[in-house]
Structures are given as structure tokens and as C-alpha cells.
């Protein structure tokens, strides 16, 4: 049999201690802070103002742009502030702060959408506020509506969950199996894609078993155990493993006939079509060396991460680093006031030993970064050029191909911040292209 998989990759410690932790629902927080940009694309404009009362599921932010999704209130209560704040990165985002009244009154607008065509399906998905729940946050309705000339033959459902610690997708597979399958059926039906493949890393045999038995009598949905190897869940790697196709540089999955959705996203599609309740909550894995009781929590979007940690039982040691997402690709937060967002799938608090940034040493040219890079780049060379400000030569190194999986920096014995250098290089090239 031909080797099916991708080249490179690393084996970070899995640390999936929360696999058997059934999801616990967290109550209404003291306040919610809802940023107007929780997706890739145009930010939303706030449609409420200070002093307004809002209800659960009510639209509080929207945009006319195509690549954008509306944002809904996750609580009922009073808007106490609408102002720009820094969430992550350095760009301020308009955030709506709401003081919940504790009643969780549901908006009158909430009713199951009427779907009778591809157009109405895609409109419903946009209205639901759904963005890719795997972590990247790309608006789902855009994905579901690829260019006319793209011929999609495979819907790929991503349940790989290759990042250490995170088990929220695993819990989705275990607790929400039927919704995943129903959601896939809806997507297949309305987009006309003939078949779906579900990919799950083989370190989750229970999830594979459960989904396999759920699709036993469905001929066009198949479940595949994948080699446990980070970054198996990266879109391009997953497509390569399941179909043998390589997405060409600068192209999209639709260019090789694939559409990739996360397990939690398809399960949400099913729930939304049933209830009409937009995306206002998220399953989040809470873990890390500072966390007293690691667990999976269902959190209302907008809940400050500090409140989520408190709900889980607080810290056993002072955290030195808080990460939203996994340890390989997640974003480190500067404050525990940052809210849970649509794409948040994990919250990690690391102690001083784990959170400390290691000292960078000189490159010894060991070649580890080259051998682990799934995109076949030369991270050490890019790092050298970026550090020396030799941006003119960067074009030759396919810097823009980098998926920022972090394998290079993970594997580097000199602890060089290779991924950071490449990000910097990308930024320089993007700005150069704009000129």
C-alpha cells in the first residue's frame, strides 16, 4: 500500500488528561465581553449601544461584508460598555460588555431556520454565526460556497485533535455523535458533495469506534483512524493523509476538491437547524500545570477566561502563562480578562517552569527543523535571514507556505524561535506585496 500521510511532524507529549472528563456546563458569568471580531474577515459593527437590554441569541454585531459573520449575545442583560479593547495581538477591537441579568431570556427571533435550497442553507449558516470551531475561525458559509468552477468531491470532517491537552473535539465525538452524523448529512445534502470522510487520530480509539458504529449503515460517510502525529489536524496535512492530494501553494482545499470542517462545527450545524439558537457557547478544555482540576467546560462566549479557571477550581500554582488554544498553536494571553471566543477550544494555564520562555542559543545546523517541517521549508535559513534583516532574499524560501504549526521551534535543540521568525518574515513579505 502506498504511504498515506504527510512528511515531517513531531510527537509532543499528548497530555490529554481530560479525555474522560465529561463536559460540565458553567453558569452565567459576572459579565461577558464580546469582541466584534472572532473570525477571519471583516470585523462586525456593534448593533447595540450602552444601556440597551439584550436577550440570549440576539444579534449584537453584524457586517455587510461577505467574509464575516454576525455576533450574538450569549446572555440576557444590559450592555454596560461598547469600546475598543486589545484582545490579542496589538490591534484594538470593539468589544461589547454585557452585565447579565441572570434570567437568560431567549430572543423572540430564535426559531429554526427554513432551509429548502443551497442558498437558504448557506444563509442559515451565516445567520448562525458559525466560524470554523477548530481554532482558525474562518466563516463557514464562505467555505460552503466555493467558487463555481471548483468541483468538490469530498467533505472532510476534522476530528484529529492533534494538539496536546485538548480533548474538546474528542468529547464532541463521544457526547454528540448523532449530531455530528446528522450535521454531515445536512452539509452533504445541501452542498451536493457526494461523500464525507471523518479523520480521527488513532490515540482516540473510543471515538473512532463510536463514530464507526454510527455510520455503519451510511454508505457515503466513512471514518478513518489516522497516525498520531502532530500536525495531523492541519487542513493540508489532513487532506493529504485522507485523499493523497496536496493543496498547491497559495491555493485552497477547494482547489483539490475538498472541503474541511471540524467535528464541532458540523454538530453545531445540526443543532442550529433544529433549534435556531446561534453560536453562543463553546466546549473548552481547561488544563495545564497550574490548573487544579483539569476538565471540559461548556462556556458562554464572552466569559472572561479568569472566570472559567475559577469555575474549574482555580489554580494550584500561580500561572506564568495563559494560553488560548493548544500549546503548539495557541495564543498566549496578557490578561485573564480576555473572553472566551468562538474559536476557543482550550484554556491552558502553565506554571513558571512550563511557561518560561527558554533562552535562544546559536543554530548548530542539526537539521531537525528541516526534517520536521510538514511544508518542506528551511526554517533555519528563514530565521537567519529574518534575524539579519535580509528581507530581499526571503522570497526564495516559500515563507508564505508556512502553516505556523510550530514543529520547527518545538524540535530545535537551541530553542530558537523559528516560528516567530517565520511569522515576522511573512509579515514583511505581506507588507512588501501591498506596496
Amino acid at each position: 500500500m502506498k504511504f498515506q500521510g504527510f512528511r515531517g511532524g513531531v510527537h509532543p507529549p499528548q497530555a490529554k488528561s481530560t479525555m474522560e472528563c465529561a463536559t460540565v456546563r458553567m453558569g452565567i458569568p459576572e459579565k461577558v465581553v464580546i469582541p466584534m471580531q472572532q473570525h477571519i474577515g471583516a470585523p462586525c459593527q456593534a448593533t447595540v449601544k450602552k444601556g440597551d437590554t439584550v436577550k440570549v441569541g440576539q444579534v449584537i454585531g453584524n457586517s455587510d461584508a461577505y467574509v464575516s459573520v454576525p455576533i450574538h449575545s450569549s446572555v440576557s442583560g444590559t450592555v454596560t460598555d461598547v469600546s475598543e479593547r486589545i484582545i490579542s495581538g496589538s490591534k484594538p477591537v470593539v468589544c461589547i460588555e454585557i452585565k447579565p441579568d441572570g434570567l437568560q431570556e431567549v430572543s423572540e427571533d430564535i426559531k429554526p431556520p427554513v432551509v429548502d435550497s443551497k442558498e437558504s442553507f448557506i444563509k442559515a449558516i451565516r445567520d448562525s454565526g458559525l466560524t470554523g470551531l477548530g481554532g482558525a475561525g474562518f466563516p463557514t458559509h464562505v467555505k460552503l460556497n466555493p467558487p463555481k468552477d471548483a468541483k468538490i468531491d469530498t467533505l472532510i470532517i476534522n476530528g484529529a485533535e492533534c494538539e496536546p491537552y485538548i480533548t474538546s473535539d474528542y468529547r464532541e465525538c463521544m457526547e454528540n455523535t448523532e449530531n455530528i452524523i446528522e450535521g454531515i448529512k445536512h452539509v452533504l445534502k445541501w452542498t451536493g458533495i457526494p461523500k464525507a470522510m471523518i479523520g480521527i487520530e488513532d490515540n482516540k480509539p473510543e471515538a473512532i469506534k463510536r463514530l464507526k458504529s454510527a455510520v455503519k449503515n451510511i454508505s457515503n460517510i466513512s471514518v478513518h483512524g489516522l497516525r498520531t502525529m502532530y500536525p495531523q489536524g492541519a487542513e493540508k496535512m489532513l487532506i493529504k493523509t485522507l485523499t493523497g492530494r496536496e493543496v498547491p501553494p497559495g491555493k485552497l482545499p477547494s482547489d483539490v476538491g475538498c472541503l474541511v470542517m471540524n467535528v464541532a462545527s458540523v454538530a453545531f450545524v445540526c443543532e442550529y437547524l433544529k433549534t435556531g439558537m446561534p453560536l453562543i457557547k463553546k466546549r473548552v478544555t481547561v488544563d495545564g500545570s497550574s490548573v487544579k482540576t483539569p476538565m471540559n467546560v461548556e462556556v458562554l462566549i464572552g466569559t472572561p477566561v479568569g472566570e472559567v479557571f475559577s469555575f474549574s477550581g482555580g489554580f494550584k500554582s500561580e500561572p506564568s502563562k495563559i494560553i488560548m488554544g493548544g500549546p503548539m498553536m495557541g495564543i498566549s494571553l496578557y490578561s485573564d480578562e480576555i473572553p472566551v471566543m468562538k474559536y476557543t477550544n482550550a484554556l491552558l494555564a502553565l506554571n513558571e517552569k512550563d511557561g518560561k520562555i527558554p533562552e535562544e542559543n546559536v543554530c548548530i545546523r542539526c537539521g531537525r527543523c528541516v526534517s520536521v517541517c510538514p511544508m518542506n521549508l528551511l526554517p533555519f535559513d528563514i530565521d537567519r535571514l529574518v534575524k539579519a534583516n535580509q528581507y530581499d532574499d526571503l522570497d526564495k524560501y516559500n515563507v508564505m507556505d508556512c502553516i505556523e504549526c510550530g514543529c520547527c521551534a518545538y524540535a530545535c535543540p537551541a530553542k530558537r524561535m523559528l516560528t516567530q521568525s517565520i511569522r515576522l518574515g511573512k509579515d514583511v513579505l505581506r507588507r512588501k506585496a501591498k506596496k
Binding site: P248, G367, L378, A414
Partner: protein
């Protein structure tokens, strides 16, 4: 939050492997060979090792200080260089010559080119080549192992490859395997070197490509290019003789001076093997491992340029 939080670019976890740990592993892997050297050549060998290691670390410390750079002796790379240099020297070499070797390796080859990661040839090998040019007679005067009768003239004992070139008595293959022959301090015992090599493989410090392909190429070519026509050579003799094991396992695998890609390392290892056998069979020198590796070291930039990996989903690299 009472404390400030660290904020950095992902990834937020790093593998256990560090430069220092890699160097320590190389040192551990060289211990069997060092002990074999001491066993076969006596206390003098132990002193020679001590002299090169201490002088290498000393020079590393002093030159970094003189160049106003940070102190790097903690990365243990100077210990590795000193140790490998000792294993490449005749056991009876005067200590001061060994110290000159350490100076050349650390100061000239390594630090003046920028330090760890920037040297374009293997420092220990370059130092050995420098010493051969400077003190040719002493660098090719071999002492017999202690286990051989004492009546042999102490400084005119021949190595197996020397004996081959001059038509002398060839040692038994078993003696060559365990190291009971003349030669450089740490090159004679194939057994001890292989044990070290297996340790490095098991620890993931090196991959099998360079040692196996290098040694395999030498064996194959030795067999083909035999003294009595093709396919009459003795591959095992050439594999066990001289510095091949030491070179293939510990020196050709040096990260800084070997290619970055798997494809590159294959080309590099074959090149080392071809050059070694050409030097051994068709030049005046009995041994060719050092020069073969040094020549391939300087070819690495070209090899790297020609073996750039093909980008994911795309055509060949520029």
C-alpha cells in the same frame, strides 16, 4: 492576577532536547572508545585525553573572553572537540603538540569563524590535518598496543593500513575489531566505536544514514577495487582499518559540517566513502578518512543548495 504573564509567539512547549544534552550524549558515546584507548595504550592515553580536553575548554573560554563574547563552555561543545581530537592523535604524541592542535581547532577553525554552528570544517579533523602538516613524523609514529610484546620498536610500529601500503604483516580481523592494533588513540577499537554509535542512534542524536552509507560505500568499493582485479578486495579489512569507524560515526555526523536534508546526507556520505577509498588505494597516504571528510565538509553548501526539499504541493525549489 498578581503576577505578570509571559506572552510569546507559539509554540509554547519545546522538546526536551537541548544543545548541551546533545553534546553530553556525544561525550557519553565516546567514553567506550576512550577507555579502549586507555586499555590498549596505557596511562599515556588518559593523560593525552585530559590534555586536549582541558586545553580545548581553556582556549574556548579565553578566546570568547578576548573577543568579548558570552562564555560558551557550558554548551560542552569544546569538550567534544577536545575529546575527538585526542582520539585522533597517536598515543605517544608530545603534549605540547596536542595543545597546539587544541588551539588550532578551537581558536582558528571554530571561534574565528563565529563559534559553534559556524565552522565550515570539523575543528578536530582540521586540527589533525594541521598537525600532520606541521609535525609529520610525530603524527605518523605509532606505538604498539600494550598487549603486544614489548620487543617491537616503540615508534616504528605500523598501523594496518600502513602495513598494507608497505607490504607488511596484516593483523587479524578480530584484533582489528576489538582494537588490539596500532593506530590513533581512539580509532582502533571498532567494537567500542560501534557501541558508542548505537547509543547515539538510540538517543536520536544521529540518524543511521551517514555512518551506514559511508562505511557501506567504503566496504563495497574496497571489495570491487581489489588488489587482484575487481571483486577481489577484502571489505572487512578496509571497514575495520584506520579511522573509518571513528570518522563515520563521530566526525562525518557533525551537525554543523554535514548537510541539512536526508537526501543531502546520502550524497555526502557516499562522497566520503568514495574519497576515502581513493585516498587509501591511489595516493601515497595510508589513510584517507580525515581528508575525505574535510573535503566533503567544504562541499556541504553546494550539496545543500542542490538538495533543497520540494515544497508541499509544489514544484522543485528555486
Amino acid at each position: 492576577m498578581e503576577n505578570m504573564l509571559y506572552v510569546s509567539s507559539s509554540p509554547h512547549i519545546r522538546s526536551e532536547v537541548t544543545t548541551q544534552r546533545l553534546m553530553l550524549d556525544v561525550i557519553i558515546a565516546l567514553i567506550p572508545s576512550a577507555f579502549a584507548g586507555i586499555y590498549f595504550f596505557g596511562l599515556r592515553a588518559a593523560l593525552l585525553i585530559a590534555v586536549t580536553v582541558i586545553s580545548s575548554v581553556g582556549f574556548e573560554y579565553l578566546i570568547r573572553k578576548a573577543l568579548k563574547r558570552n562564555n560558551t563552555i557550558g554548551d560542552l561543545s569544546a569538550v567534544v572537540t577536545g575529546l575527538i581530537l585526542a582520539l585522533n592523535l597517536p598515543p605517544a604524541l608530545p603534549f605540547w603538540m596536542a595543545i597546539v592542535g587544541s588551539f588550532f581547532a578551537i581558536v582558528i577553525v571554530k571561534q574565528l569563524f563565529g563559534g559553534l554552528g559556524y565552522n565550515f570544517v570539523n575543528p578536530a579533523l582540521a586540527a589533525r590535518a594541521f598537525l600532520i602538516v606541521s609535525y609529520g613524523a610525530r603524527m605518523t609514529s605509532w606505538t604498539p598496543p600494550l598487549t603486544v610484546a614489548n620487543d617491537v620498536d616503540a615508534l616504528s610500529y605500523a598501523t594496518p593500513l600502513g602495513a598494507l601500503k608497505q607490504g607488511g604483516q596484516l593483523p587479524k580481523l578480530f584484533d582489528m575489531f576489538i582494537g588490539n592494533i596500532g593506530g590513533s588513540l581512539g580509532e582502533t577499537s571498532a567494537l567500542a566505536l560501534i557501541i558508542g554509535g548505537i547509543y547515539l542512534l538510540a538517543r536520536g542524536v544521529i540518524s543511521w544514514h551517514i555512518p551506514v552509507i559511508y562505511i557501506g560505500t567504503v566496504g563495497l568499493l574496497a571489495w570491487i577495487m581489489g588488489p587482484d582485479g575487481i571483486f577481489t578486495g577484502n571489505p572487512l579489512f578496509h571497514v575495520l582499518a584506520g579511522g573509518l569507524m571513528l570518522g563515520a560515526i563521530f566526525m562525518a555526523t557533525d551537525y554543523t559540517t554535514s548537510p541539512m536534508t536526508k537526501k543531502g546526507t546520502v550524497i555526502y556520505a557516499i562522497g566520503c566513502g568514495v574519497l576515502t577509498i581513493l585516498f587509501r588505494l591511489y595516493t601515497n597516504m595510508p589513510e584517507g578518512v580525515s581528508y575525505a571528510i574535510l573535503l566533503m565538509n567544504v562541499s556541504v553548501p553546494i550539496i545543500d543548495r542542490c538538495t533543497k526539499p520540494v515544497r508541499f504541493g509544489g514544484e522543485a525549489h528555486v
